[in-house]
Amino acid sequence: MIPIELYIGLSAIIFSIGLYGLMTQRNGIRILMSVELMLNAANINLVAFSSYNADLTGQVFALYSIALAACEAAIGFAILMAIFKMKGTINLDSINILRW
């Protein structure tokens, strides 16, 4: 039987990759992809715990979380489109008016 630590470790690695992308990337779509990655790391955790505790609720919530990810992606892309219309770019470095 595969120890649960491996699943969690995988999830942590995927999450860190998402984190890295979030911190370094400047392109809006890449950032959204990073965020999706982090969200799916969490889903792995949910399913892993659900299986290892013989409780299906976690898997159901993983489904819900996927649905929420869809919402997030939809909104995120819509925002990016709006930004593109406004600025002509989706490089988030140009969206820095909220500063001193």
Partner: protein, 669 residues
């Protein structure tokens, strides 16, 4: 349903009236005057009933108290001393409120006036009813505040605002002394109990204080190399408070200026009631004073000096209210003198002094109200512009002359014929004689006799200048309405007959105020602690009995000759540049000394130098601080880049470091 149980209503009703009048007075006719009048009338009835009960059974004083916090309580005490004061204050206050109906009828701020006077009456009654010194002090400050408010009632006038400030600040000097006295007294009592105060013992209540007088007297402090008993320090500090409140020398300067308020206020607060609070305080703590070596002598000397000092200034004033103000100071000096004479005659002094206090309240309130009536009609306060007012205002003139006779002290010794002032003031002067005879200190007696002459002189100067002779200006006055003349007539009756009817009964009643269920003080024993030798009224020579009357008559005669019949032309006799006249007219330059020297030179300039130095220091400090903050902000704000990713980076870093930190800490622990 004994009326004693409702004694607490006496101050509470006017307090309630204050709230009601303050909030709803504007919507009612006459500024809601009916509310305080009704409340004070009820208080008066209760006080009167309690006093009558007490007269029948002087032992059964009313005493209710409940715990406030720790070892302090709130309570009321109606013993003979408080009872007569209560009755007098409610009575005079009631009459003055009725009089104010007419006097203040044209003022737009009527409701504020009535609210403030109601508050004043409530606090004064609370002061009188207090059964502990702390509560007394609280009410003492409250009446001070009311006095401030009412002197500055017409605060649109700069002079009134200044006078209010002056009164407040001057009395504050005394109040601080009073408070220091209370603190010292509290410390001593705390020490006596070794800090372990049993339940139900409220250490600032008068019975507890009085029962520990010998122990307090045994404590000594060394001041400038002299051994001084604590009780002397405490009583002198209390007397300092009384000096401020009762306008004794040298803190009397506020009282003449206090005449900037409405005349009714002068009558109520600065003649009849509040200024007597100092006398009341000394009378209330009389057992402490008599156990304190030399305190009573200070009281006697200062009282006698104030009596003559103020009287000399009263002679030269031209403002009708200022004459009365100096007269008030002078009479308060008499009351203090009366208390000081307790060094010889014991608790009887309280009776004599309080009797003068009550009588003075009647005739001085009457004098002020008459003056107010005259001012109301004539429209000026300057006596040089009056003259012949008696023709247009017969009732006012008659009542004022009665009051003047009472103030001068006219009556026939040995009978009950005489004005009220005669009985009380002459009792004080005779006691001063006894004091002189037994102790060899004649100065108070001499001063009081001369002051009696001056009293008669200045008050009849006022009468002649105001009511007789020809009108010096065209003022076209008229008699005041009935709401004003009826209180005048009632007060005149009291000024005329109260003394003759009540003297003996009153003096024994009040003198026994320290011998009842609540406190039982052996004055003779305490006097031994204080080193006073109590004597009794002997048979004074006949001349002593008649002398006050003779000097009063002499004063009247001089006033009549100079100001009435103009036999002597005063202007030619004493030029305006006469040094004595100038000295008196400028009030011994005391004001100038206080303002120009103490206030301006010492306080103002001293403070401004110190202030400038501190200012510079703070300037630098504040500048440095602001620069520091500015520079820190300048560098720190670089972190706000506006890019969410940077923030996310910071959050991640923080979380990681935090987890590491927690791990490390957990390991170490």
């Amino acid at each position: 349903m004994a009326v004693e149980n409702y004694a607490f209503l006496i101050p509470l009703l006017p307090a309630l009236a204050f709230v009601l009048t303050f909030f709803f007075g504007k919507k009612l006719p006459n500024g809601g005057a009916i509310i305080p009048i009704a409340a004070i009338a009820t208080s008066f009835v209760i006080s009167l009933l309690i006093t009558l009960n007490l007269l029948a059974n002087p032992e059964e004083v009313v005493s209710q108290s409940f715990s406030w916090f720790a070892m302090l309580n709130i309570g009321i005490l109606v013993d003979p001393l408080a009872a007569v004061m209560l009755t007098m204050v409610t009575f005079v206050s009631l009459l003055i409120h009725i009089y104010s109906l007419g006097y203040m009828s044209h003022d737009k701020a009527q409701s504020r006036y009535f609210a403030e006077t109601a508050l004043f009456t409530a606090s004064m009654l609370g002061l009188i009813l207090s059964d502990n010194i702390l509560q007394l002090f609280i009410c003492w400050e409250l009446v001070g505040v009311c006095s401030f408010l009412l002197i500055g009632f017409w605060f649109q006038k700069p002079s009134a605002a200044t006078a209010a400030k002056k009164a407040f600040l001057t009395t504050r000097i005394g109040d601080v002394m009073f408070l220091s006295g209370i603190v010292l007294l509290f410390t001593d009592l705390f020490k006596i109990y070794n800090g372990a105060i049993p339940d139900g013992v409220y250490i600032l209540r008068f019975d507890v204080i009085f029962s520990h007088i010998p122990e307090i007297a045994a404590m000594n402090a060394t001041i400038f190399g002299m051994e001084v008993s604590h009780i002397t320090i405490i009583t002198l500090l209390f007397f300092g408070g009384a000096v401020g409140k009762s306008g004794q020398f040298p803190l009397h300067v506020w009282l003449p200026d206090a005449m900037e308020g409405p005349t009714t206020v002068s009558a109520l607060i600065h003649a009849a009631t509040m200024v007597t609070a100092g006398v009341y305080l000394v009378a209330r703590t009389f057992p402490m004073f008599i156990a304190a070596p030399s305190s009573l002598l200070v009281v006697a000397y200062l009282g006698a000096f104030t009596a003559i000092f103020a009287a000399t200034m009263g002679i030269v004033m031209n403002d009708i209210k200022r004459v009365l103000a100096y007269s008030t100071i002078s009479q308060l000096g008499y009351m203090m003198l009366g208390l000081g004479i307790g060094a010889t005659i014991g608790a009887e002094a309280v009776g004599i002094s309080l009797f003068h206090l009550i009588n003075h309240a009647f005739f001085k309130a009457l004098l002020f109200l008459c003056a107010g009536s005259v001012i109301h009609a004539v429209g000026t306060q300057d006596m040089r512009q009056m003259g012949g007012v008696a023709k247009v205002m017969p009732i006012t003139a008659a009542t004022m002359i009665i009051a003047a006779l009472a103030l001068g002290g006219f009556g026939i010794p040995g009978t009950i014929i005489g004005t009220s002032g005669f009985f009380s003031k002459d009792a004080i002067i005779e006691s001063a004689y006894v004091f002189g005879a037994s102790s060899g200190m004649w100065i108070p007696y001499v001063l009081s006799i001369v002051a009696a002459l001056l009293t008669s002189l200045y008050i009849f100067r006022l009468i002649f200048m105001t009511f007789f002779g020809k009108a010096r200006t065209d003022y076209g006055g008229h008699e005041s309405p009935a709401t004003m003349t009826i209180p005048l007539s009632i007060l005149a009756l009291f000024a005329l007959f109260f003394g003759g009817l009540a003297t003996e009964r009153f003096n024994t009643f009040v003198s026994d105020t320290f011998m009842n269920d609540f406190v039982h003080v052996n004055i003779a024993e305490l006097a031994e602690i204080g080193g006073y030798h109590l004597g009794h009224h002997g048979h004074e020579p006949l001349i002593i009995l008649w002398l006050p009357l003779i000097v009063a008559a002499a004063g009247l005669l001089i006033a009549a000759l100079v100001y009435g019949m103009k036999v002597v032309n005063m202007d030619r006799l004493v030029s305006r540049n006469n040094p004595i006249y100038k000295l008196l007219y400028n009030r011994y330059y005391q004001n100038e000394l206080f303002t120009n020297f103490f206030s301006v030179k010492v306080v103002y300039e001293g403070l401004s130098y110190a202030g400038r130095a501190i200012d510079t220091g703070f300037d630098w400090l504040v500048g440095w601080l602001s620069d520091l903050v500015l520079e820190t902000g300048e560098s720190l704000r670089q972190f706000q880049t506006g890019a969410v990713q940077n923030y996310a980076t910071a959050v991640i870093t923080g979380v990681s470091l935090l987890i590491i930190l927690i791990k490390v800490v957990m390991e170490v622990l």
